[in-house]
């Protein structure tokens, strides 16, 4: 009965029994299904004809996500990716072939899915998520992210949180986020303003490895130190303003040779092409299997949310696959002082003696803030601005001043930065 009804909907691409597997779930509830689930035609119609889903990223996770969504019955899928295909993607990004190297990921992936899964429309956008405005994001029921960039995740998270209008339930777009690193990964469901958001959990990220400049310049010990010397100190010295392109094998070759020479001078072993590339591009190991697991778990959540056929993840699934299979599912807590969804200012307590420069250093260091080149102001005065140059010059003398001479105890500072997709409010107290 079910299949006949789907056919009569007039979707020519649906053959009888096409959704035999998925329909077992949609035709009846399970023991943990919410009573609001309406089994049968209505939910299938919504999934297959009305729902519209956005996939951000068409890389390792994105390729998997697109295929899973298409097979699950989502038929109106949009995908955004700003990257082109590289040969090193082919070990896992399974919608791409050697002939596609150099082509935009979003476009190639969309075409592949449409060819393979009849009746599914995938609309690609080859560009940045920041190119799109609220109206664009408002058209989707769900957003799934398969990104490798913290910055892009923070942006989409802040955008979706800010879009929520309490008067308009439709303005709340569930955000499903996946990420992997080697044999490890995580998937989570974010209901903007309701659950913990991406920004709430920023301190869970591993701190990136950085080497002190004095080690790089004076006392190198590891091959990585020699590579950093070549890329951070030698490149700008030799090539001035010429931008280093870490995708250009000639540039990597120069860095490799330069690092190797320095390593020889200091009798340090272990500089290789692969390590050089790994250090300068900050390469994270990536394999098909982990991506498959995490993408499947993201799409499974999307399917459950779109159909209400089963309870969805609350709200964080973490997987470590190195020693057997270890996973941990937990509810990550919302932070009241989250600068994106918390609504409260971030309290900081500093010494009365601290200079503005010291405060900036602290902000850059803090794992729960993660800001580069912040500008700061109070409601009445400018403290320090990174740009434009005139304003920077004008506010530069403040760097050496004490914060306490510019901001009263208990007063607020607004922090902005080009990498920060929102304004961060600090409430300053002195010890």
């Amino acid at each position: 009965m079910a299949t006949a009804a789907v056919l009569s909907n007039g979707n020519a691409a649906d053959w009888a029994d096409r959704y035999y597997h998925v329909d077992q779930i949609l035709d009846r509830p399970g023991p943990r299904t919410d009573p609001s689930f309406l089994a049968g035609e209505e939910v299938k119609k919504f999934l297959r004809e009305k729902s519209k889903i956005l996939v951000i990223g068409a890389g390792g996770l994105g390729c998997e996500i697109l295929a899973n969504l298409a097979l699950s019955g989502f038929k109106d899928i949009h995908v955004i990716d700003m990257d082109t295909i590289d040969i090193s993607n082919l070990n896992r990004q399974f919608l791409f072939r050697p002939k596609d190297v150099g082509q935009p990921k979003a476009i190639v992936a969309a075409e592949f899915i449409m060819n393979r899964v009849p009746g599914v429309k995938v609309t690609p956008y080859f560009g940045k998520i920041q190119d799109k405005d609220d109206d664009y994001y408002m058209q989707f029921n769900l957003v799934i992210c398969g990104l490798d960039s913290v910055e892009a995740r923070r942006w989409i998270n802040a955008t979706l949180v800010n879009m929520v209008d309490p008067e308009e339930p439709e303005s709340l777009k569930p955000l499903i986020d996946g990420g992997t690193e080697g044999f490890k990964g995580q998937a989570r469901v974010i209901l903007p303003t309701v659950t913990s958001c991406y920004e709430c959990s920023l301190d869970m990220l591993n701190k990136p490895t950085t080497f002190p400049i004095c080690t790089i310049a004076n006392t190198p010990r590891l091959p990585e130190h020699c590579i950093e010397w070549a890329s951070v100190l030698e490149w700008p010295r030799v090539f001035k303003d010429k931008k280093m392109d870490t995708d250009d094998p000639e540039h990597i070759g120069w860095l490799y040779k330069t690092a190797l020479a320095r390593a020889k001078e200091f009798k340090i072993e272990g500089v290789t092409w692969s390590l050089t590339q790994g250090v300068v591009k900050n390469i994270i190991p990536a394999i098909a299997s982990t991506n498959a697991i995490i993408a499947a778990s993201c799409c499974n959540e999307a399917f459950k949310i779109a159909t209400s056929s089963a309870a969805y993840l609350n709200n964080y699934f973490m997987l470590i696959g190195t020693d057997g299979v270890y996973s941990f599912t937990f509810e990550h807590q919302k932070r009241d002082d989250c600068p994106v969804c918390g609504g409260q200012a971030l309290d900081i307590t500093i010494s009365k003696e601290w200079t503005v420069e010291r405060l900036i250093e602290m902000l850059v260091e803090r794992q729960d803030v993660q800001v580069k080149k912040p500008s700061m102001a109070t409601s009445t005065k400018q403290i320090y601005f990174q740009a434009p140059p005139q304003l920077e010059a004008l506010t530069r003398p403040n760097l050496e001043k004490k914060v306490s001479s510019l901001v009263d105890d208990g007063d607020y500072i607004t922090v902005t930065a080009s990498t920060l997709p929102f304004d961060l409010t600090l409430r300053v107290q002195y010890t």
Partner: protein, 558 residues
Amino acid sequence: MSAVSESQDIEQATAAIEQATAAIQQPDNKTRRYDRQLRLWAASGQNALEASRILVLSSSATATAVLKNLVLPGIGHFTILDSAVTSPADAGNNFFLAGPSSIGKPRAHEAVPLLRELNDSVEGEAVVKDVRELLKTDEGRAFVSGFSLVIAHNLRKDTLDELSKLLWADHSNPPLIAVRSAGFLAEFFIQYHERCVAQPHTDDNVPSLRIIRPFPALSKWASELDFDKLDPTEHGHVPFVIILVRAVEDWKKTHDGKLPSTTPERKAFKEQIAAMRKKIDEENFDEAEAQVWRIWRDPPVPGAIQSLFSLAPPSDSPNAVFHALLQTLNAFVAAPDGPGCLPLSGALPDMRTDTESYVRLQTVYKDWAAVEKAKFKELLQKGFPDLAPTISDEEIDTFVKNAHHVRVLRGRRWSEWDADKEALASSLTISPRETAAHLGLAALSALLNKAPGKRCRTGTSDHASRGCVADGSTVTVDGLRAEVQQLVGQDIELPEDVDTAIGEIARAPTADLPNTAAFLGGMVAQEAIKMITKQYVPVNGYCVIDMVDMWTGTVGGQ
């Protein structure tokens, strides 16, 4: 140092790049293609993958999802053994079938080319035969046993039983991964006699630095160093290892040759280190204090390794080399002229010091590691004169470097656990939801085995099995519950988790959901890669997955 002057222009600089790279070739295409995975399992793991031949029973959505994640990283060969004809349902849930145009054609034939196009260097073959028929002949059994690994998805219970017995019969037969799924629930089991893992990658910490058991060159350096004569820069660059070795030596002199052990002693020891500082902000001393745990926690042999020494090697084990290395390790620790602990790995973590001291320290460690490795090899030769010449230097090297955390896993035959009522009942108390899901799936396979329940579409009479699907119409909550009760014993009260699991299974008894298939595809391929590369640690027991509440767990391990 670069010879390039600071005044050169961009063109010259670009020329310099070209010149520099002329001699240095970037890696070949294959290395670039596999770059992101070589960073995990290196060339040795890749070679093992490329030498592997994998047999997959079924070309269901789950089976092809597993294969996709094995073809991409580059296994050598795969064979799909499947007699099924593509049903309309298959064409709807399987990414590696060509949609409706595959309907009515042999499923394996349709899937193989779409999997092969993922990676030119992988061979793939479709064998359109029924595994039950194959297992009836010697030739068929030899064929199945000739692979490096066999993976089966939703295979009939009696066939799986027969297959698992065949593969279990001989230690040299391939391991088996048995995968079962229904709707949001799934599990897989890896059948192996024994897995020896020389590179578990489970511990990122550098093993013992021998601070409390210094070897001669280290001891000499630490005891001869005159801290007072060092200028402030030199003092601030003494490696923390040397500081600690010296501090231990000084402590022992005034404490009957004993290490600090009580809390007050440890506190006093830390104060002794603090007193060695010349300035408050010497970072090498900060490090020495932070690394002081290396003195409290440095057993001659970690407990887990010690317990491997008493493990009797199986008589017909294909892991004879690993066991020889393990017994040699035991002999090395026991040797009266040895250090009384595991051999030095030779690795050194980064530390606050100058280049010269670091490189010198690195050399001291490497040289001594070579001395102990030579001693190890001597013992290996003595203990295993026949085997020793067949073991490569690389193998010994890898083993010695990982000696502090090598692993041996002992497994059992598929379904052996299901015959142990007591174990099941106890597991149901300890891990109710995981055990319940396993029992539910075991009950399902028992029910389907008795009566698969078939539904065929009309108008497709040209082929007997065309358009037919096992629809699980025979599967009911009551039927599942009765099977579960039979597995654990009639007198066991079933927890609520059992109702949840069987309710979910009865809802979708034959559903191979795209997302569950993809999830399993990743999980099972990952375990297969661990089995083939002998790197990382595979699952022992049943890995159970619930995609409603989104958790995984392991039950029934040894």
